[in-house]
């Protein structure tokens, strides 16, 4: 099916070029049938890409090693779930997934707007197909997933990278890619609105679900990545300001800014230049994020020179930036605001400030991410920036952001009065003060940043709670409903508002977790022998005994060696047992001996984690395998001599190798060497995951479409009111 897959990709590329031409011709001449044909080219692109994706997915599931990409990223011993998701662990498969998601989201928005936005949609179609053509061309000419394996088809593949054998890691890429590709939709419609000079809020309303969806999926992807880092990588953290992490955070920040500032355009006709610039920047940052993930540019500057994707991606980004600047500059007159800011004490001003903080955060992260490349370009040597640099800028900006997320929903539109400020701010400030006092009493005073964050979170939660209570009261006065029904009705009828408030609460909870865990964590790296113990964060951690195991796949193939430790954790007389392991996967390197290759390949950590609302106890082990080295070398030598003599049949050789490895594994537990442990007691990490769940619940509420029946009833009621009052002169 290699030819069929490649054929579908070529068809996809062709249909992109046709659709671009048809849409632009239809838009210029006003011939609707050409516009409709261009729109249908997007559906055709989705169909052809879906067929190509299914062919590739089937090849992975069947372990068809005639596909080069299957040979290099899967094996018969890879479990079926990971075989299905191994498609996007490869460069080629992930580009195909990008194209598939882009074409599906594009089809959805163009179908939804097929009878609306007539001036804008054809240009947006051309932009979406232009992006589709770019990725289809990469797949056809540079990174085809349908290349045949060089030489004879092997009986076994290399297998999936062990680090990726984690459920959240396999869901994480589709989430990120959904976010990136969904941001292409508002980008394309913004370009369409600028080209067609239709710059009212219609395109914003139509694309809002897609912008919210992009924000939602990208956010879920970011949190899943953080969770994977915490539970799978052996360093104990959830965020390292890694370039790839930063790449996903930047468009999320500008997208968040856009979701807030469009409200001002919708309500007051202001900030049109800012909004359109934000959404264009978000689109560019989404492509930049994909570029950083796929090119490896920031892992190695030399890899950039050798990368086949670097130059085309840079070309696309340059075109997107230059085109965006030209369009915004040439439409400056049409983008002039209808109103001015009435007062600095208003919701508009707070939203604007919130936007500035989000954009400053994005700029600081951008600078820190690209500084190694910038420094190399100017000085010839590569300087890197670590977490302390990022923290210096992001901590104060995040504190400011949380404060603004509390003020924004409470302050009045246009101009706040003293009475408004008193009425809305007294209770939340009182709660913030109470939280501050409690935190001081609990000893949080030594970390002022964390202390301020706790108080600000109290302010946000107090403010949102007050908003809900007042909304429910108003609803009960109007509808005489019991409290639970009033809450449900209020939220159902004002999904954007209360979904947004829940997002603010979730973010406050999440940042409380970040502040507490980063300020008050107790971490130690210790070397222990069995029976020895160490004290960390008020816990006694005893290394009880080592563990070891040679693990074989169901088909008998030796898969990995696990060396681990059983730990006993004691505090205040109460004990619990935890197990941590380090797994060693064999390398495919042809120069390594049959025994040593098990110690020279990828290694993954299985951390020990006792998570709770108050604190997490976390441990990882780094076994010292140096004592095994003489036996490993001896084993390699024996097998090399046997291979040279040709004395061992393959089956017998495999059995002897398994026996030799079992002996090595046993020797680790029989005479255990000291092991190095990273022990971490970190308060309130669980609050980060709970906060994230609350954020996404709020996002879902805001995203959920209103039921049609309710919409009709509400419409009818308002139509009657509008009709009545229309007879009264203003």
């Amino acid at each position: 099916m290699l030819v069929a897959g490649q054929g579908c990709l070529i068809l996809a590329l062709g249909v992109c070029f046709y659709g671009i031409g048809a849409s632009l011709y239809g838009a210029r001449t006003g011939r609707r049938e050409w516009v409709a044909s261009g729109r249908r080219a997007v559906y055709a692109l989705a169909g052809a890409t879906a067929v190509a994706f299914v062919i590739l997915e089937a090849a992975f599931l069947r372990s068809d090693f005639s596909f080069a990409v299957v040979t290099s990223h899967s094996s018969t011993t890879t479990p079926a779930f990971y075989r299905a998701t191994a498609v996007w662990s490869s460069q080629e498969g992930s580009l195909l997934l990008w194209l598939l998601l882009l074409s599906l989201w594009s089809s959805l928005i163009l179908f939804a707007t097929r009878r609306r936005l007539r001036e804008i949609a054809p240009y947006a179609t051309a932009v979406l197909l232009g992006l589709g053509a770019f990725f289809a061309a990469l797949l056809v000419f540079l990174e085809s997933p349908f290349d045949h394996t060089i030489g004879p088809v092997p009986a076994e593949g290399v297998g999936l990278n062990p680090l990726l054998r984690h459920p959240s890691m396999m869901i994480h890429p589709p989430m990120l890619y959904s976010g990136y590709t969904l941001f292409a939709v508002p980008f394309a419609f913004a370009v369409g609105a600028l080209v067609a000079r239709r710059l009212n809020a219609d395109w914003i309303r139509s694309t809002r679900p897609f912008t919210l969806g992009a924000w939602f999926f990208l956010g879920v992807g970011i949190v899943l990545g953080a969770r994977w880092s915490y539970s799978e990588l052996g360093w104990g953290g959830y965020w390292a300001w890694d370039p790839v992490e930063n790449a996903s955070l930047m468009p999320w920040l500008t997208g968040t800014a856009f979701l807030h500032s469009v409200m001002i355009q919708e309500k007051r006709g202001m900030l049109k230049v800012w909004n359109v610039s934000l959404v264009l920047a978000t689109g560019v940052l989404a492509i930049l994020g994909t570029f950083l993930v796929r090119s490896g540019i920031l892992d190695s500057i030399h890899a950039f020179g050798a990368s086949t994707l670097g130059v085309p991606f840079l070309g696309l980004i340059a075109v997107m930036i230059a085109g965006s600047i030209f369009l915004v500059a040439s439409r400056a007159a049409e983008l002039r605001s209808a109103h001015r800011l009435d007062s600095l004490l208003s919701r508009e001003a707070i939203f604007l400030l919130n936007n500035l903080v989000l954009v400053l955060l994005c700029l600081a992260i951008w600078w820190g991410t690209f500084f190694p490349l910038i420094s190399e370009a100017f000085t010839g040597h590569r300087a890197s920036i670590g977490p302390p640099w990022f923290d210096r800028f992001t901590v104060p900006l995040t504190l400011m952001l949380v404060l603004l997320s509390g003020i924004g929903p409470l302050i009045a539109w246009r101009r706040a009065t003293a009475a408004n400020l008193r009425r809305n701010f007294v209770a939340p400030i009182a709660l913030a003060g109470a939280v501050l006092v409690v935190a001081l009493l609990l000893g949080a005073g030594e970390h002022p940043d964390a202390l301020i964050m706790f108080a600000l979170a109290g302010f946000v939660v107090g403010g949102m709670g007050q908003e809900l209570v007042r909304g429910v009261r108003a609803r009960r006065v109007m509808a005489r409903e019991p409290v639970p029904l009033a809450v449900a009705s209020l939220v159902r009828r004002n999904r954007h508002r209360y979904g947004g408030y829940l997002v603010h609460v979730g973010m406050a909870v999440l940042f409380v977790g970040v502040a507490a865990s980063s300020s008050f964590a107790d971490e130690r790296d210790v070397e222990l022998t069995p029976g020895a113990s160490a004290r960390v964060g008020g816990y006694d951690v005893e290394y009880v005994r080592p563990t070891s195991e040679l693990v074989a796949a169901p088909n008998g193939r030796l898969e990995r060696i696990d060396f681990g430790a059983v730990l006993r954790v004691t505090r205040d007389g109460r004990s619990s047992t935890m197990v941590t392991e380090r797994s060693f996967f064999p390398s495919a390197g042809p120069m390594l001996g049959p025994v040593s290759r098990f110690f020279e390949g990828e290694a993954t950590s299985e951390v020990a984690l006792d998570a709770g609302l108050r604190r997490d106890v976390w441990a990882s082990v780094a076994p010292d395998t140096r004592r095994l080295e003489p036996r490993v070398k001896e084993g390699d030598k024996v097998f090399a001599e046997a291979d040279d003599a040709g004395a061992l049949p393959a089956r017998e050789r495999d059995l002897l190798l398994a026996e030799a490895l079992r002996g090595l594994v046993r020797s680790y537990t029989d005479a255990p060497p000291p092991a190095t442990f990273r022990l971490l007691v970190s308060p309130m990490v669980t609050w980060i995951w709970i906060g994230a769940i609350v954020v996404f619940l709020g996002g879902l509420i805001a995203l959920w479409p209103s039921p049609r029946t309710v919409g009709r009833r509400v419409s009818a009621a308002y139509a009657a009111r509008v009709g009545r009052e229309a007879r009264v002169p203003a």
Binding site: A4, R116, R118, R205, K267, E467, A474
Partner: protein, 88 residues
């Protein structure tokens, strides 16, 4: 098998993109497009009116500001309804 898959996909793609040329001149589609656009604007305006009212009830819009904003929004809603009536 490969060729069959490619031919089937090609035929479906071609049928999909040429379909609009085979059923031209459907004026009612154009008319319903404008209708749909106005309906969307009507819903958005009603949401703005509801939002303003809730802002007023929860203390974020003063009485005079809310009345002024409400009058403007309702006038805009009436204009949309008038245009809808003209179409219907």
């Amino acid at each position: 098998m490969d060729i069959v898959v490619i031919v089937v996909v090609l035929v479906v793609v071609v049928l999909l993109v040429v379909a609009p040329f085979r059923r031209r001149g459907r004026a009612e589609v154009e008319e319903s497009a404008e209708l749909a656009e106005l309906e969307a604007a009507r819903h958005a305006k009603y949401r703005e009116i509801r939002d303003a009212e809730l802002d007023h009830r929860t203390g974020k819009l003063s009485e005079p500001d809310w009345r002024a904003l409400d009058r403007t929004l309702r006038a805009e809603a009436v204009e949309i309804l008038r245009r809808l009536d003209e179409l219907e």
